[in-house]
Amino acid sequence: MNSDNRFEAFQQYIDSEEKIEPKDWMPDEYRLHNIRQISQHAHSEVIGMQPEGNWITRAPSLRAKKILLAKIQDEGGHGLYLYSAAETLGITRDELIEQLHSGKAKYSSVFNYPTLNWADIGAIGWLVDGAAVTNQLSLRRTSYGPYSRAMMRICNEESFHQRQGYEIMAKMATGTPEQHAMAQSAIDRWWWPALMMFGPHDNDSPRTSNGLRWKIKRAGNDELRQRFIDKTVPQAEVIGLKIPDPRLRWNEETQHYEIGPINWDEFHRVVRGEGPCNSQRMAHHKHWHAEGAWVREAAAAYAARHNTNPVRV
């Protein structure tokens, strides 16, 4: 088969909704596109542990602390599945972390915003996990097999996180006046960053077309964003919170909500590294990765000498 035919056959295979598996032939660009997307996704899960982790030690009840801790642990688990999926494409975990630290690999910009009160924990679950799950539900049908299977495992947990987040928000919004103010402040600060999670408008998004053609992405950014808005606006109304968008309105004709303009300057600024917490998030990850070096070395030295980990102590 000459190389043109290989590309054509690959495209046909994808068009017939077959999954690409690690041992299958794939164009280099397809491989790189997947590494970029899966690793960005993995890093987002891991860096996302920080803003929520900021409230673990101040969680206001035993139940709230358990739920939050278990939630963050789930995110760490998502990071693990996704690192494993990326590793099937011929890159190691060390290389992936190295790319995160050098800035070559990105993570979702939404985690560069601070969590300033307890309702932010609700807002993250409800809005950030809510936006993530909207995207991930469509990614269950992504063409790369290991990525698709990771998404299936992850989606159930993300939906659960969203419900838990909404529960916190509802409690806060209907609690004391102070709690209600915290809840409103949280949605004021998290609404727009959550909408930006879907990425630029499709006509401004350079990689969307390749991603769609190879069925790595299964829906456009704007379509997914609209799905999220239509689902979330009524939820805010139910608990008496205002969406911070004076131009928000229901369009009877299209049966969709319309929103005001998204501040893309802010989006690009935060992606560039100039968000409120970019350097803090990265410094935290680098610091604790460096702190853990002696532990990883000890484990490796022990394993090398014993050819195994101790099973019985």
Partner: protein
């Protein structure tokens, strides 16, 4: 008897509560992702144990204080945890040594409490013992790996072992409260757990290449509310929302 049981449940509950808090502080700070998740798992088990024990304590007390009231609205001097668990996460070796001391102790304690004449306590201990067996496998295997790992890991392990050693004596103090409950067949006395505890510590320390510190000095005070400086800071953080917004429901 009810008051003795209440005091005893506070000791166990608070020890789990404060330990779980220390472990929870480590979330997103593990040496690698798998270990981060493992430590969080253990933290969750200890919160669960604290919740169950404090809930039972509140029932025994019968003053309509909930488990959350006990956790979030008591002052430092009313906490009955052992001093060991409030010690900070100085480095991963401290985390492991602290956990290992506790895991061996809780393993023995929960096994003994399975036979308690108090059925509620016996049922809880049966559940907790299973969790503790897993914790022990985790901390014990790290003791050996760090002890036999690199020169640095060995040195760090030795330092943590030496620094935390004098907080272990408190685990085996037996007082009137315990004796009263023990006479009724509800709990073992703590000193009865010591021979098996020290045997297990010796065995693993030997495998890790550690020698037991040659000191008789043991710190004390947790059971009467005389804590180390660390607890006040921990509680200030943990209790912040409940204290700042009295009466709010979260």
């Amino acid at each position: 008897m009810q008051n003795a049981l209440f005091q005893y449940l506070l000791r166990l509950g608070d020890t789990n509560l404060i330990l779980s808090h220390r472990l929870a502080e480590l979330c997103s700070r593990g040496p690698f992702l798998e270990e981060d998740i493992a430590l969080t798992n253990i933290a969750l088990d200890h919160i669960g144990q604290a919740e169950a024990l404090l809930k039972y304590a509140s029932e025994v007390e019968g003053r309509s204080r909930t488990e959350d009231d006990l956790a979030y609205l008591r002052n430092e001097t009313d906490f009955r945890n052992c001093l060991l668990v409030e010690q900070p996460n100085t480095d991963f070796a401290y985390v492991i040594v602290r956990q290992f001391f506790i895991d061996v102790w809780q393993g023995l304690l929960y096994n003994a409490l399975k036979n308690s004449k108090d059925e509620t306590l016996a049922a809880m201990a049966t559940r907790f013992a299973k969790e503790t067996a897993y914790h022990y496998r985790h901390s014990g295997s790290w003791m050996v790996r760090l002890g036999q790992g690199t020169d640095e890991s060995r040195a760090r392990l030795e330092r943590a072992f030496r620094d935390l050693w004098h907080y272990t004596g408190e685990l085996f103090e037996t007082d009137a409260t315990e004796e009263k409950l023990s006479a009724a067949g509800i709990v073992p006395t703590s000193d009865a757990l010591y021979p098996e505890w020290i045997a297990q510590i010796n065995r693993v320390a030997g495998e890790a290449g550690l020698r037991l510190p040659a000191t008789d000095y043991m710190a004390s005070g947790g059971r009467v509310g005389m804590h180390t400086e660390h607890l006040g800071h921990l509680l200030a953080e943990m209790q912040y929302l409940q204290r700042a917004y009295p009466g709010a429901k979260w």
